[in-house]
């Protein structure tokens, strides 16, 4: 079942990806083909099969709660596209009163 254009635009919105018109059309076609191919999984009866999220038996790995040095703030901020003092800068996320 091919994906509609609206579905592709909706996924792009969820994935926070700005796509060109050409990309939307190409992905509509390619994702439909891949999902068609993945439909073979529906042939298997997995009603009684538990899912595998990860393969090792470890759970709740704990470590001692000890203070150890963190990365220097300057090193961490060193890659920031935009910064002020010890903060990352982002465009406004709330509306500013006029």
């Amino acid at each position: 079942m091919p994906l509609t254009r609206q579905e592709v635009e909706h996924i792009a919105e969820l994935a926070k990806l700005a796509l060109s018109q050409e990309e939307i059309e190409r992905f509509q076609e390619q994702l439909s083909a891949i999902l068609d191919y993945a439909a073979v999984l529906q042939r298997l009866d997995t009603e009684a099969i538990p899912p595998t999220a990860q393969v090792i038996e470890l759970r709740n790995v704990m470590r001692a709660d000890e203070v150890s040095p963190s990365l220097p703030v300057e090193d961490v901020l060193g890659n920031a596209p935009s910064r002020r003092d010890s903060f990352f800068c982002v465009p406004p996320v709330i509306e500013v009163a006029p």
Partner: protein, 501 residues
């Protein structure tokens, strides 16, 4: 003998005896890179000054050891190596083959890099990769494709194509790669080198830029099996900074190597010789299986009945995990930021739209879809359930046999550009390697011959945390065949040039 064609162990012996210096070894590698990398294009970043600085330090250490009679030197002292550009190297650019991380300087080293450093290695540079390790040909690098040293018109495989090509072209003595669905083993096969993918949990992934967290593993690319055993013994082992890294003792993998495999039970999974396989590759791998039999191993046909489902399972689970992992590239903390965005959502969308390449966008879209409301059960959960069936296939096979032997890739290296327009065709390159990652087991690809002058890989698959046995089988096979002594002849273009001929 050329210094650049030495194995790590051979070079280590010469260094310890003082017959060559670390600076000479490093300079010869850097000269080789200058001579051939404009053809091969294995490296994204070179670190010649850092390399020579590390080499000089190694020489001082070696000289001091000779004066004091110290014998217990770090295993990689003075050995020039390359690192796939998805592993963080402090202060050295780490791009993941992506524009979105152009100029990113990690503030810390990955654990595996730290361990190589502690073992005395010399960093030559960072190698090319498909963007965020998503690909099977290294053509998805945002910078340039790497070329196969055996035929420059063909791909080296991927996504660790830069590391495999650098080792095959004698630019580095060994390299680290990463394997999420075959990304160490497949390029190793296509470039005629040895590629080891350790068990999930065997090696720390701290500082590995995450692609699919339930599948990713760091692996090694080397000229022979003994070098893989050496590197694994250095990078393996518990790390408190990676909670998925298991606290189990690390055996001496080198000591476990033996040319003796008589009586070992080797399963041959019939599903790994299916349609779509190149007849020349099949004949070459079948010949390798006969060789294992000649060495005294018992071959037994086994069945992994859910093998044909591995590809769709992988291409739902890996993109789903990737879509979550890659949410961090938002133009705020590091990397590319779209200029002029005056609102936060717009910054995210435009940054990602500009910074990611086609395959990363495709998989992010696919993964987001598979995880989205209304489709989660039908796609993601279904894939996780079939993943259980794939694991159970291996559990049953390993009740009867010690290891499995199969082809690594259904074809030899394909021409650059041949599969870029057809993602499904590209995904089929990994059809014999994906299942192992889904089951979390270990595997190794070892050269087993040539088809039309292009290398073919034999894959040995093993039980969880039983790297010692797959290394032993690969070693016994390698030592009884000439393939690991064949090197591409870059100066005259192409062709097989067995050493000593």
């Amino acid at each position: 003998m050329e210094l650049t064609s030495l194995t790590i162990l051979e070079a280590g012996r010469l260094l310890r005896r003082g017959e060559v210096s670390a600076v000479e070894l490093t300079e010869s590698a850097l000269d080789r890179i200058v001579a051939v990398d404009n053809q091969v294009r294995a490296f994204l970043t070179l670190t010649p000054e850092f390399a020579l600085e590390q080499a000089r330090a190694a020489d001082e250490r070696l000289a001091a050891a000779r004066r004091s009679g110290e014998e217990d030197l770090p295993a990689l002292l003075g050995i020039p190596m390359a690192i796939k550009d998805v592993l963080c190297t402090e202060g050295v650019p780490t791009t993941c083959g992506s524009r979105i991380l152009e100029g990113f300087l990690p503030p810390y080293d990955a654990t595996v890099v730290e361990r190589l450093e502690r073992a005395g290695y010399v960093l030559l540079g960072k190698t090319n990769t498909d963007e965020f390790a998503m690909g099977s040909s290294t053509e998805n690098s945002a910078y340039f494709p790497t070329r196969n040293p055996w035929d420059l018109s063909r791909v080296p495989g991927g996504s660790s194509g830069g590391s495999a090509a650098a080792v095959a072209a004698h630019e580095a003595l060994g390299a680290l790669g990463t394997d999420t669905g075959g990304s160490v083993r497949q390029p190793a096969a296509l470039c005629g080198v040895v590629g080891l993918k350790p068990t999930y949990g065997r090696v720390s992934r701290y500082g590995l830029v995450a692609f699919a967290s339930s599948l990713d593993q760091v692996g090694t690319l080397t000229r022979d099996v003994a070098d893989s055993a050496l590197l694994l013994s250095i990078i393996a082992g518990h790390d408190v900074r990676d909670s998925t890294c298991v606290d189990l003792p690390v055996p001496s993998y080198l000591e476990a190597l033996s040319p003796e495999i008589a009586g070992l039970r080797i399963g041959v999974p019939e599903e790994y010789f299916g349609p779509g396989m190149d007849p020349g590759v099949e004949a070459t791998v079948r010949q390798a299986l006969r060789q294992l039999e000649t060495l005294g191993a018992q071959l037994e046909p086994v069945s992994l009945p859910h093998t044909s489902y591995a590809l769709p399972v992988y291409y739902l689970i890996a993109p789903a995990e990737a879509s979550s992992n890659l949410a961090r590239y938002d133009g705020v903390k590091y990397g590319h930021a779209a200029p002029g965005a005056d609102e936060l959502w717009e910054l995210y969308k435009r940054t990602r739209g500009e910074g990611f390449g086609a395959e990363v966008k495709r998989r992010t879209m696919l993964g987001t879809y598979a995880l989205s409301a209304g489709y989660y059960d039908a796609f993601y959960l279904k894939a996780q359930k079939v993943r259980t069936l794939i694991r159970q296939d291996f559990d049953r096979a390993f009740e009867k046999v010690d290891v499995l032997a199969a082809p690594t890739s259904p074809t030899v290296a394909f021409p650059i550009g041949a599969r870029v327009e057809d993602p499904l065709q590209m995904y089929l390159s990994d059809i014999y390697t994906l299942s192992l990652n889904l089951a979390g087991l270990c595997g190794i690809s070892v050269p087993c011959g040539f088809v039309d002058g292009l290398p073919v890989g034999l894959q040995i698959l093993g039980r969880a945390f039983d790297e010692a046995t797959i290394l032993r089988v690969a070693y016994a096979y390698e030592q009884s065949t000439p393939w690991h002594t064949c090197h591409p002849n870059l100066s005259v273009g192409q062709g097989v040039d067995p050493a000593g001929s």
